[in-house]
Each structure stands twice: as structure tokens, then as C-alpha cells.
Amino acid sequence: MAAGEELTLSSHIQHHLTNAKMCTVDGSIAFNKACSEAGFWTWHVDTLAWSIGLGILFLWIFHNVAKKSTVGVPGKLQCFVEMVVEFVAANVKDTYHGKSKLIAPLALTIFVWVFLMNLMDLVPVDFLPAFAGFVGETAFGMDSHDVYMKIVPTTDINMTAALAVGVFLLMIGYSIRIKGVLGFIKELTLHPFSTKNIPLQIVLIPFNLLLELIALVAKPFSLALRLFGNLYAGEMIFILIGAIGLAQLPLHFVWAVFHILVIVLQAFVFMMLTIVYLSMASSDNH
């Protein structure tokens, strides 16, 4: 425990839910509380570091296996990797009927990356933040309460929103590529209320546009918020369980076991919805 302020439960939880921030204040780099005024140009270094680290880990393993992949009898790691790849490929094949070289690798990246980031949730909540606080205190002379470390990137709305925005941009890109700009505009304006009566159709256009835009924008929102909400809530429960002393052990175990399901399921749902949305974006029959 650091010297100074009393550690209350709410401050403990608050500490756990705060990202390590980095920003520039008056031309020099500042951290954490100094960044409260920085607004948009704040970087969550823990989210960035963990997510990119995990992404690189994923690509490093898969790339290594891919480089050494043999057509003959595969090794155990290759078997595992191929199992994941075939699982994703089967889902993509079932859902996406167009021809695209991007969808399958995109789905694989989302599935494994999101899974790995969610998996960080199973690391006991105090381990890495406490370790970071210890390192900050001993190596950098900081107050350990000022060292923040949120190790589950998917509990940061920026992370899930970034994924959703990426998928959203692809949805628009695919819509325009497959249907053309005009086709995309038509899709947004001539449905769901369509009529042969041209003046009436013109009157209906604003309603259609409103509905379709909401439907379109709801997709990335639901993607981002579903993943964020599930993981944030799960993390919150872990933090609360971690705060109740020795009794946490059985509870922690039960919640962790249940959370294994959530972790895989959320990664799968995110992947599946990405494929479905892109499939909808590239199909012509509305």
C-alpha cells in the first residue's frame, strides 16, 4: 500500500478501471492525471501496448506456422492453427457467398485477436496492475496509485470502437464496390418504403434515409458496445470479487469458468457479425 491516501473500495475499483494515459501538454509528454485536460489527443498506452502486443503474438505464431506449414503430416501446433483456420473458413464459406480475399483473413484476425484480448480477463485482476505499480514505484519513483494498468484491451471502448469502425468502413467500401455509389444511395433511400408513384416516393425518401441510416449506423454501434459491455461487466465482476477478501477464491473460480464461455463467445459473435454485415453489404438483393 502506498503512503498517503486511504484506499477505499471505490477508489480501488476506480483505479482498476482507469487506463494509463499519455498525452502532450505544452509540447512535452505527460501521463495520467496530467492528461485530464488533453481531450481527444490522449493515448491509452496500456490498451495500445497490450492489444498490439497480443496482435503481434497472434500473427507471429500463425505466421511462423504458415511459413513452416507442411503439406504432409502436420505438427501439433500446425494442427491447432489449421483447426482455427478451418473453423473460420467454414464459417465464412457458409455465410459469405461473394468472392473476396479479404473477408476470411479479416474474420480470422478478429476472432483470434479479440479472443486473445478477452483472454487477458482471466489473469487475476490484481496481478499485473500491482506488478506495474511495484515497478513504477521502485524503478521510477512514482506513487503506485498513479500507475495505471488495464490489461484487457476490450474493456476499453476505444479498442472495440476501433474494430467496429474498421468493419463499418469495410461495409461501406463493399457496398460501394459491389453496388456502385448510386446503388448504395438507392439502397439507403428507396427502402423499406417503395412505391411506383414517383411523387410519393420522393416524399418517402427522407423516411427511408432516416431508417436506413439508423440501421446502418446501429451495426458498428452494436458491435462495439456488445463486446465492450460484456467484457467491461465481466471485468467489473472480477474486480468486485477480488475486493472481498479470502471468500473470493471459490467465487473467482466460478466466475472465471463462466467467463471462459463469454470470452470465446464474444470473439465468435464479433467475427460472425462482421461476416454477416459484410455479406449483407455485398449482396444486391435488399
Partner: protein, 156 residues
């Protein structure tokens, strides 16, 4: 919890990861999987074919064995016939030889007997002449009595 520049950073990271995966991870893995599937399919087809070939070869071998057995039986039959024929020929030849030798020997014996008989007759004739000389004590004109002597000799 506010949205901030982290989103941009993650978006860039996401893009880079997806592109990397698309270029360097997915194609080789998919290639390996599909090639192996093809290989397994080929292997199964080949094993099916080999099974069929084996059955065919076994049938062929059976046929050939049957042919060979039939041929062997035929050859043995021929050999037996030939053996019998050879034995018969040899027997015939031996018989002929025997008859030959017998006939020749008979002829020789006959000739010898004739010769001996002629000798004997001549000696008896001489003896008879000598006896008659003694009986008559006189020389008898051999020429005049030769018919009697001849007759005597004949009677002997």
C-alpha cells in the same frame, strides 16, 4: 472511457494486422490445407485403384495357374503315350532280332547237319566198297558196279 486518439491507433493496428494476415498468414495456411486435402483424396483414389488392380491381378494369376496345370497334365499325358510307344517299339525290335538270330542259327545248324550227313554217307560208301571188295575178293569193276553201290549208299 471517452473516445480518444487510442481509437485511431487501434484502427491503424487493426488495418495492419488484417493486411498482414491477408498477405502472409491466410494464403500459405489455406494452401497447405487444400493441398493436403487434395493429396488425401488422391491417396484414397489410388488405394481404391490399387485394390481393383490387385483383384484383377489375382484373377489373372488364377487363370494362369489353371492354364499351367492343364498344360502340365497334357505334357505328362504325351510323355506317357510316348513311353508306351517306345517300349512297344523296343519290344518289337527285340522280337525281330530274336527271330533273326534264331533263323540264322537254325540255318547254320541245318547246314552243319547236312555236311556231316554227306561226310558220313561218303565214309559209309567207302566202307561198303571196302567190305564188298573183301567179300568178293576180287576187284570188281567199280565203274560197272557203281550203280549197285550207289543204291547201297542210298539205302544207308
Amino acid at each position: 472511457m471517452n473516445l480518444n486518439a487510442t481509437l485511431l491507433g487501434e484502427l491503424i493496428a487493426f488495418t495492419v494486422f488484417v493486411l498482414f494476415c491477408m498477405k502472409f498468414v491466410w494464403p500459405p495456411l489455406m494452401n497447405a490445407i487444400e493441398t493436403r486435402q487434395q493429396k488425401i483424396a488422391d491417396g484414397l483414389a489410388a488405394s481404391d485403384r490399387a485394390e481393383k488392380d490387385l483383384a484383377l491381378a489375382q484373377d489373372k494369376a488364377k487363370d494362369q495357374l489353371k492354364d499351367a496345370k492343364a498344360q502340365a497334365a497334357e505334357i505328362i499325358e504325351q510323355a506317357r503315350k510316348r513311353e508306351a510307344k517306345m517300349i512297344e517299339e523296343a519290344a518289337q525290335k527285340a522280337n525281330a532280332e530274336r527271330d533273326n538270330i534264331l533263323a540264322q542259327t537254325k540255318a547254320e545248324v541245318e547246314a552243319e547237319r547236312n555236311r556231316l550227313r554227306e561226310d558220313l554217307r561218303k565214309q559209309v560208301a567207302a566202307l561198303a566198297v571196302a567190305g564188298a571188295e573183301r567179300i568178293l575178293q576180287r576187284s570188281i569193276d567199280e565203274a560197272a558196279h557203281s550203280d549197285i553201290l550207289e543204291k547201297l549208299v542210298q539205302e544207308l
